[in-house]
Symmetry: C2
Subunit: 199 residues, 2 copies
Amino acid sequence: MDDDAATEILAATHRALCDRGYADVTLADIAAEADRSKGLIHYYYDDKETLFAAFLDYLYDRYTERIESVAGETPRDRLVGLFETVLADRKGSAGEQLRTAMLAVNAQAPCDDAIRARLERFDEYLLDRVAAIVADGVATGEFADDVDPTVAAEFLVTAVAGAHARRAAVDRSPDRIVETMTRYAERHLVADGPAEVSG
Amino acid sequence: MDDDAATEILAATHRALCDRGYADVTLADIAAEADRSKGLIHYYYDDKETLFAAFLDYLYDRYTERIESVAGETPRDRLVGLFETVLADRKGSAGEQLRTAMLAVNAQAPCDDAIRARLERFDEYLLDRVAAIVADGVATGEFADDVDPTVAAEFLVTAVAGAHARRAAVDRSPDRIVETMTRYAERHLVADGPAEVSG
């Protein structure tokens, strides 16, 4: 299969997931959506689980590329840029596709080791990335030297996951949370920030 | 239907959801699980959606009762107690049942107004509750007077949602997040807290 066909099938997987949800979607639906024969898809993917795992791998590559491209002069700028990137709502972004996929698969994840392992990769990647930026900020003195990068990353990644979950389940806009997380970073992490002034 | 039978059917709904997920579960499965006739269940609930909405209402009552029972001498104690309660993992608690139900239904929620409206009630309840505790703390001077209760509540409720989502999807323990949220409350909200000392 050439790369275009593979990408097309994965894009069709995304559309079929949005329409039907993971539990109901079939390889035949995906073939129809991609305008390919069911035989072609079966040739490459044994079953829905295998195709979905490939879909998550494809999203992982796009997701990490996007996060790695976040620029910023200082760790604080990079941290805010990262929040904006992972919480941005751009249609068709890897982040948006990932959220749909996660929603579609969440109910199945606890029972499927291959899927759980893939979801853990996203989580670990984001934890590592945030911890590295925070550690940079502590090293350069931009963040307070008693900030533990691992603990801060755990909290921030949890807030990101919560922003996604709340948007999906109850339609809360993430705009406010980007602002609040930025404020958190400024008050809680930044050395000599407003925390001392305001208590 | 007497209260015992209703409670039994709702408990059976929970078990059937855990076993099969929302997409696959049928009223017949729930009847079998409750050891009742399918006719009895159909008499009270037209379809799975109606039964699931009743199940969410039943969880809402248990959930709010539990949160309202959180005691504590000061707003800070009550806030930490609330985190522990909503993030506690006790088997069979309303919180645990709610999480399972949310997982089972998340993929469907965006398409189902009745379910979405019910999930929003949980979210709004928790937001109001946290904002009220934070406002109390600001009023008594325990929390800094520049803390905006609504903004703090939005951030904290988002972190709670994220802790639930990450536990479900990637099996992260919430113990650390309870600790980190407590630390957040102490450094970020509390007036004259360690924030000044450590910067």
